[in-house]
Symmetry: C2
Subunit: 302 residues, 2 copies
């Protein structure tokens, strides 16, 4: 029986590993698709303190090496369920079951994609899902901002202070955001609204040059010249495999400030949890706490 | 009038600066004693994700350079008070007053010192105030652990799994920790108790070799050979200058998960706040959130 199983090999997972291994716990990390998580898709990160400029892949390699220095054991497996048997937890995977005393869920989240040509190719270099992360790279440029919800409009406002022009693209003819936020967006001279519209493709040679919009009412098309596309149509947590902890309506796992979930011995860190911000910096903070809490929990069992 | 004033130039302060400057806020950082904060006293840090081994000074230089890349303006000044005038805050300092819309308090905390010869000299290389940070460096060695409170005993238990022997030094003849924690400590063969004792000096040539203990009842002295000293006699937040926000009984500032204090427009991040863990990793997570919340707050004013 392991002390601790960490589910997911992104920023939160590796940080949880560094902390728990340095606390002398017997740890196993399970990862489905390969190390790095969502952040590995970022070409340039400027806001992880300590690195002025680094790629997501490179940063995650550093995290991984550091965890391995303390003896991290990783296994490639997809977790299908976590069972709570009091002092024993069973983590079920596609390649067998593992028993442990505690689990830290670091399975992350992914942005909902548009699913249009060009999106995948330009992700991390023209297509972004996070204004806090990437707005700064588009200073003085024109960008499309897709979505009409609360987050989308807030992020568009954030963008509007930095870029030359924000072209909001929304499939309906009204926003779903809070009234006060809507009014600010309507008042901004840097924001233009493209109603009843969806993006059908993201175009360009080496970088994003335009998006093609389709009007959903009359099926007309137009091309909008932009150098960037921000997509704000939702975030999906990777938490389907676990149904024994409390989640919010979006599927994010609830935790207190010790990163304890509703089930004793199950902890969560990073993008998979209910949190006001999803960044490498916050994942790292969460995970240090989760590992410390897990260590204290395991200590309390003995 | 500035958008934002950041008080303190440690891990939290620099991270708040990176995030708020990238969000195009007009920011001023105030620092009393020079950049770096408590962490600058650490010779080797192994648990900040991204750096397998780095000194505190070097890591803080990297944070500072990164913030300066985005245009950080720093001023050397001691904050004496923060006044809340609704949409305007006044930060009073020894070298004049500053007006701003929002404040992030990143003033940190410091461990209570023993105040004995050898303590200062060996801080960061033999004398530590944090088992989570430094226990790993003392694998297989003998260490003294000073204090009898809840934290002290928990930290001693944590240490006992890694080091050869923990010599607990406590000025009274009983622990003040929770009963269950006490029982575990008494049951551990790796923990020895030195009752009614205080450390009067920490001795060694280039590294810690022993501590001198004095028995407070009979004034007798003895020398205890150890290679490290962990001091757990309290943490003091640097929050005396602000008395308009809610604090706990220890003087730490209370905040919600958005790092909002009890006063709108005043935020807190890092060691100065009520938090289960005080690490560079957690300061960084807090500060990213605080800066994002401050940006949203300032946006809401306009």
């Amino acid at each position: 029986m392991k002390d601790l199983i960490i589910i997911g090999a992104g920023p939160a997972g590796f940080t949880a590993a560094i902390y728990s291994l340095r606390a002398q716990l017997d740890v196993l990390m399970l990862e489905k698709t390969g190390p790095g998580g969502q952040i590995a898709l970022s070409d340039v990160i400027e806001n992880y303190p300590g690195y002025s400029e680094i790629s997501g892949v490179e940063l995650m390699q550093k995290f991984e090496e550091q965890a391995k220095k303390f003896g991290l054991v990783m296994e490639s497996a997809e977790v299908t369920a976590v069972e709570d048997h009091g002092e024993k937890k069973i983590v079920k995977t596609t390649s067998g079951d593992h028993e442990c005393k505690a689990v830290i869920i670091c399975s992350g989240a992914k942005p909902r994609k548009l699913g249009v040509p060009g999106e995948q190719e330009f992700t991390g270099r023209g297509v972004s899902y996070c204004a806090t992360c990437d707005a700064f790279f588009f200073k003085g440029k024109d960008v499309a901002s897709v979505g009409g919800g609360d987050t989308a409009v807030k992020e568009s406002l954030f963008l509007s202070k930095m870029v030359n022009r924000v072209e909001v693209v929304h499939r309906r003819d009204a926003l779903r955001a809070e009234k006060i936020i809507q009014e600010k967006a309507f008042a901004s001279p840097a924001i233009n609204f493209n109603w009843d519209s969806v993006v059908t493709s993201i175009n360009g040679e080496n970088s994003v040059e335009s998006v093609t919009l389709k009007n959903v009412k009359d099926d007309s098309e137009k091309e909008l010249p932009v150098q960037g596309v921000f997509v704000f149509v939702g975030i999906l947590p990777n938490t389907d495999f676990i149904n024994i902890v409390e989640k919010d309506e979006g599927g994010f796992i609830k935790a207190n400030d010790k990163m304890e979930t509703s089930v004793p011995g199950l902890f969560v860190a990073g993008d998979a949890r209910v949190t006001p911000l999803r960044q490498v910096a916050t994942a790292v903070g969460d995970a240090a706490i989760a590992a410390t809490s897990a260590e204290a929990y395991i200590e309390s069992l003995e």
